[in-house]
Subunit: 254 residues, 2 copies
């Protein structure tokens, strides 16, 4: 059983905390955060503190804070003897230079406050500056998830970049779909089964085989009609760029 | 029990056929298609034909062919007495002008050959040129799906436009995510749980609340780093436009 201190109180912290609580291999002994308000969630279950100097001795310290605060936290807990990891996709392990024993524990998923995910299906990307610590992370990762990979900082930043496309940008396309519906007093809920099936399709079909639509088949008439329906300049620009890119990609191959 | 003839042999046709077969309210008596090959799927279960002149008398004719072939099929079966509907999102009902009784039966979903969807969760958008025929479609629709809406041709084209964003463009973002992984010998399967959760999030969160990522938080450092990692011009252009649009949208509100 390893002891864990979590620094940070956001979505990742809450989801990791719950996942660790269900393990016999680990126990969270303390959560440290800047504000009392954020700590209220954890207070019934373990010790909490807003003071980095009162951080407890522990086997593992998990820094689950926003990317730009990681280095600062790392410096503040430079005195701890345990292994210090961050949970960020886009941040190199080297940012934890203040901590002798450091590593990365990156769950490749999007977390929502108040929605506990099944960690078994969350890929965990690991890195550590020495083999002994890597083994600690491997053991912990494998007790949480069915998919645990050792991934370098460089490769992790590529996965994070890919995640920006399939998560952040995709969600923005959903937003546009919703805005178009709202502008015409139509219910976006009608589109939600399609949103879900578009994602689920990937389990049985390659992204290239799943590509359909007017741009894919070079249907100029529909493309022009759609542009005439789009009122917002931003929507038009995204429609044009995405359609032209799809046409260029598949035009060569048709 | 109403009798149905389906024209067309593609994904929509196959999925509708299976859904109708499970109903006591309808029975498919014939499938008509251009090529014998496409008809093989249906042949064990009902009559099939490649000859429009041998189309059977029926209560309902469902034209499930590609958009640009609908008018041609409609003209070829101008002599039938039953109700003729098409299944297209982006095509006005008026294209069925050759048929006295006409309408639209649009299942708002993406269909994959060989993958039978549960039609209960597929929204069906209906339109008909007279009330009696609309009632026939309503009854049939409600026996298939929990979500049946009467939607005008204008509104349907808006839903279809929204579907292009949340389905076609989203799938292309998946393609880019996959290409980025491939270029760096990384396994895109690591991203698939994220793809799924991004879509599932919408059941509990608004698209605006679900927006995260470097552009959302105005993280210039990560945006520049990502651009330096992107090798393909097309990927860079989409990254820039999506990020700038997200920044513009949320910048005002931060």
């Amino acid at each position: 059983m390893i002891s864990v201190v979590i620094v940070g109180t956001g979505n990742v912290s809450q989801n990791l905390f719950q996942a660790f609580q269900n393990l016999k291999e680990a126990t969270v002994i303390q959560v440290v955060g800047r504000h009392k308000k954020g700590l209220a969630y954890f207070e019934p279950y373990c010790k909490v503190s807003t003071d980095f100097d009162s951080i407890l001795p522990s086997d593992l310290y998990v820094i689950a804070v926003s990317d730009n605060a990681i280095e600062d936290v790392s410096a503040k807990i430079s005195f701890v003897k345990g292994l210090v990891v961050h949970t960020s996709g886009g941040t190199p392990m080297g940012i934890l230079k203040h901590n002798k024993r450091n590593g990365v524990f990156y769950p490749l998923q999007t977390f929502t406050k108040g929605k506990q995910l099944d960690f078994k299906s969350v890929p965990i990307c690991l890195e550590a500056s020495n083999e002994e610590d890597l083994n600690i992370l491997l053991e912990l990762g494998q007790s949480l998830s069915d998919t645990v990979e050792i991934v370098s900082s460089k490769s992790r930043s590529i996965l994070h970049l890919s995640a920006v496309f399939v998560n952040n940008f995709t969600n923005y396309l959903y937003t546009i779909g919703e805005e178009i519906c709202e502008q015409h007093q139509l219910d976006f809920n009608l589109l939600k089964p399609l949103v879900l099936e578009t994602a689920e399709k990937l389990s049985s079909l390659s992204t290239k085989d799943a590509q359909t639509g007017p741009a894919r088949r070079g249907d100029q008439k529909t493309l022009h009609h759609h542009l005439s329906l789009l009122k917002q300049q931003q929507h038009r620009e995204i429609y044009k760029l995405m359609s032209n890119t799809i046409k260029a990609t598949y035009g060569k191959k048709l």
